[in-house]
């Protein structure tokens, strides 16, 4: 699906552009080629990092990409969206040594981007068709990885996606300065080139496609539906123009809003990575001001410190220990301010309420769980948090034919975790079938 170029997200450039060949080689040469390398252990998909890096150094970029894709089929998007400071790069021996660590993500981008260019010879040839077919629900990273690995082994893989676009949050949610929607869709097309089919606009559980129909027609089903709608605050004045769910707004900004749209004074509610993302995006898009409101102290934020640091540099203000109690609207119903109370230990302190004027408030306090889907499949259970239950190593659920992984299982981690889950489910199936 081709997206228009003048989308608002395209006003933001890559923060970490692709390395040139000489940059990549120079950085690759610095890698020590550690034995039993700690960076590998810190990667949820356990990519053989020293090996792929040394292949860049020798000029074997194709082999480098193969090393990456063997463990992580979405190694391209991961290279751009992974919070490497918390993962591989965080554990690079140079980090502990107090020196600049190896930019593993950017090297991974260099290799995967270069080796999958349309003018390059295809990196993989899918094996001959086998008589097995798998249905996958949701076209996010978890399902794409699972379907891709299956298709390469000759298994028929078809993904049903409720949205009009595939890619999951890679397309609709990632901050544009990391990955633009069009690049996420290129990766989806690359996976489709292995024979993976994607039907968009089909919601399993609705649209007459029940779980039972899938169980009847396919040898196995993989559930990779991610998370649901943004959670609401449940305070007066929330419903109406100007108050938006964070992921809903990001999706609009990435896919539908046009360049030239101006942002006024923005308040973001929340302290997680989605909150920081939306705040940084607004600040970089030229908002008159961006204020984050978080109910506990900065130290307790679940968002990454390096992301918050970046947000501060870009001009985002943080109001700690405060919590919304309502939204203030004009006679015409327009949003004029958010009313907050100071908090202690997350609880409001009476009599401390005040208003922060704003014309846009983005609520980023979490997303709902899509627990209803579990009831479509007998035996598939949901835990107390509303997440689907699965064995992390194999993706197996309580139903022998049903596998699952990604955000709908872990409650919302990273793309790379979703890829690891999808890959593990594919490996379990392939092993069970003897392929």
């Amino acid at each position: 699906m081709a997206l228009p170029q003048d989308r608002l997200e395209n006003a933001l450039d890559d923060k970490k552009p692709t390395f040139s060949e000489s940059e990549a080689r120079a950085e690759a040469e610095r890698c020590l080629y550690c034995a039993d390398a700690p960076c590998i252990k810190a990667c949820p998909t356990e990519i053989d990092i020293p090996t792929f890096i040394k292949k860049i150094a020798s000029g074997n970029v194709r082999g480098s990409a193969k090393t990456i894709f063997d463990q992580n089929l979405l190694g391209y998007s991961c290279s751009r969206v992974c919070p490497v400071e918390e993962l591989c790069v965080g554990d690079c021996v140079y980090t502990g040594w107090g020196r600049d660590p190896i930019p593993i993500g950017r090297l991974q981008r260099y290799a995967t981007e270069k080796a999958t260019k349309p003018e390059e010879k295809a990196l993989f040839t899918p094996k001959a068709r086998k008589d097995k077919k798998v249905a996958l629900i949701g076209a996010g990273p978890a399902s794409l990885a699972c379907a891709g690995y299956l298709a390469l082994e000759g298994v028929e893989a078809i993904i049903f996606e409720k949205r009009a676009v595939a890619g999951g949050l890679n397309t609709t949610g990632i901050a544009p300065y990391k990955l633009h929607a069009q690049d996420a869709l290129h990766e989806v097309e690359w996976v489709q080139s292995f024979g993976v089919k994607i039907e968009t606009g089909v919601e399993v559980g609705k649209d007459h496609l029940t779980g039972q129909k899938l169980l009847d027609a396919y040898d196995a089903v993989f559930i990779g539906v991610g998370l649901g709608e943004d959670t609401k605050l449940g305070v007066p004045g929330e419903d109406g123009p100007g108050v938006v769910g964070a992921t809903a707004w990001i999706e609009e900004m990435k896919l539908h809003k046009k360049q030239g749209e101006k942002l006024g004074h923005v308040v973001v509610v929340g302290g997680g990575n989605t909150a920081i993302d939306v705040a940084r995006e607004c600040a970089l898009l030229g908002a008159a001001s961006v204020t984050m409101v978080y109910r506990r102290s900065a130290k307790e934020m679940s968002g990454y410190a390096h992301e918050m640091e970046g947000a501060r540099v870009e001009g985002v203000q943080l109001v700690e220990s405060a919590q919304p109690v309502g939204f203030v609207r004009s006679a015409q119903g327009e949003l004029t301010a958010i009313r907050v109370a100071r908090t202690e230990g997350g609880k409001n302190i009476p009599g401390t309420e005040y208003e922060i004027p704003c014309d846009l408030a983005a609520v980023a306090i979490g997303q709902s769980k899509l627990r209803a889907l579990a009831s479509e499949f007998p035996g598939v259970e949901v835990d107390a948090r509303g997440c689907l239950k699965a064995d992390p190593a194999t993706g197996r659920t309580g139903n022998a034919k049903v596998f699952t992984g990604g955000d709908c299982v872990n409650g919302g981690k990273e793309v790379v975790n979703a890829v690891a889950d999808g890959r593990n489910a594919a490996r379990t199936l392939l092993a069970a079938w003897g392929f």
């Binding site: 080689r25 040469e29 080629y33 034995a35 390398a37 700690p38 021996v93 140079y94 502990g96 040594w97």
Partner: protein, 448 residues
């Protein structure tokens, strides 16, 4: 500040740093800039009948991100008319009377040598260097290394030049020979006043794998060239030391080959050089590198309490010995500093795959390989080292099994993290002593 001036068989130079005969000494204009930068002398780009050069001419070996670890060239001697070069020599000597100009020469017949030498000396050259080293192009015409490889010819041509020369004659040797001492003795026999070495090592620097043509490429073909730069330094040091400790060679030596900084220069001088010559490092970074060479060498001499660079000369020659005279009783083992270790475990892999299987990780007993010399299991140290940086990833050395080879220390990226420590070994002993005393039978030989 220590005195850096030298006297090279009568040629006085403000310091031991000379430019080798090569592109940095192509013209008078360049050499004057080099003298302004601090170089003490220059060996002019080899003179003779002008030649025609090809394009391209150079190729290099990069080591990781370090460019030009080794340089290869297929350039010939000067391509400029002799008269122009002589005019410039005259001009440089007029403006820089205290700096050294040596004319490098290459020609064929005795008469040619006579005329060339006379012209150069008339122009004011302080000395002459006979280029018996060039290993490409010129040697196929019966000059350069084809002379350096034939001791008889080398001695004969050197003797011709001595008939005509009033200034000192330096013989520049090629490393492309089986026995450098033979060549050195031939230079002495011919009456040479000094020796320069090394010229470049015969080489093919690489292959263009798309065109299937060796490098550097000239159209669709190439030829062997001469290799120099940091990569050749160890070869040059050995050849230098072999001459320096030879009884029959008393004439001064100008050391060349891969010298890039004062430390390299100091090593050459310690192994017997009186002056040192530099080409590649200047082609890479320019004349300006001499500033650090002068400063670094004099700081070093001051630190060691040496008043003059002459005190350094030859200091390490006596300690260059035959293998058979090395002490078999001397023992070192590797020690890892847990505080400095970053946990890369390169030492573990290197020791296991490339040495003696005696570095381990993890706080449990390890089974030694079946060929181990020490008996029983290898036990981790107590307390088990927990590093400041690497935590429990710090490896440990099975000391009874360590043969002290240095490999782990060589691969460790953290300087000072692995040190080789002296431990009590056996009584002093050498292989040569064992041979003399008939103790040289090691069990497990071909006839056991």
């Amino acid at each position: 500040m220590a005195d850096l001036s030298i006297d090279f068989c009568g040629i006085k130079s403000p310091n031991p740093f000379w430019l080798a005969s090569a592109p940095p000494t192509n013209t008078g204009e360049q050499i004057m800039r080099a003298f302004d930068a601090g170089w003490g002398g220059a060996v002019w780009k080899t003179l003779g009948d002008p030649i025609v050069n090809v394009t391209s001419r150079f190729g290099a070996v990069d080591l990781g991100t370090y460019k030009m670890m080794g340089l290869n060239n297929i350039e010939l001697i000067t391509d400029r008319p002799l008269e122009v070069n002589l005019r410039e020599i005259r001009e440089v000597k007029r403006r820089y009377p205290k700096h050294v100009i040596i004319a490098s020469l290459m020609t064929e017949t005795k008469e040619d040598w006579r005329v060339l030498i006379q012209k150069c000396e008339d122009a004011g050259a302080d000395g002459l260097e006979l280029n018996f080293g060039c290993p490409h192009g010129m040697c196929e015409r019966g000059m350069g290394s084809s002379v350096g490889q034939e001791p008889k010819l080398l001695a004969e041509i050197t003797a011709w030049t001595k008939e005509f020369a009033k200034t000192p004659v330096l013989v520049k040797l090629t490393p492309n020979t089986g026995d450098i001492v033979e060549a050195g003795l031939a230079a002495v026999a011919g009456g040479g006043d000094g020796i320069s070495l090394i010229n470049t090592v015969k080489s093919i620097v690489g292959v263009d794998l798309d065109r299937m043509v060796p490098l550097p490429r000239v159209g669709n073909a190439s030829t062997n060239g001469g290799y120099c730069g940091p990569a050749v330094k160890p070869i040059a040091l050995h050849l230098l030391a072999a001459l320096a400790r030879e009884e029959g060679i008393k004439i001064p030596i100008s050391g060349i080959g891969g010298i890039s900084n004062w430390r390299d220069a100091a090593e050459f001088i310690a192994l017997g050089s009186t002056s040192v010559q530099v080409c590649t490092a200047v082609m890479h970074y320019g004349y300006r590198i001499v500033e650090d060479m002068i400063e670094g060498l004099s700081n070093f001499l001051d630190e060691k309490g040496m008043k003059s660079v002459n005190e350094l000369r030859g200091k390490a020659v006596g300690n260059y010995q035959e293998w058979g005279d090395l002490d078999l009783g001397y023992k070192l083992i590797a020690k890892i500093d847990a505080e400095k270790c970053i946990g890369c475990q390169l030492c573990v892999t290197a020791c296991h795959d490339g040495a003696h299987q005696c570095i381990f990780t993890g706080n449990e007993e390890k089974t030694r390989p079946p060929h181990a010399h020490a008996h029983g299991k290898a036990t981790p140290p107590t307390p088990f080292p927990i590093g400041k940086i690497a935590g429990p990833r710090v490896p440990w050395v099975d000391e009874p099994e360590c043969v002290g080879c240095n490999l782990c220390q060589l691969v460790c990226p953290v300087s000072g993290c692995i040190t080789m420590q002296e431990v009590p070994g056996g009584a002093a002993d050498t292989w040569n002593a064992r041979v003399r005393e008939g103790r040289n039978k090691v069990p497990g030989g071909i006839h056991d």
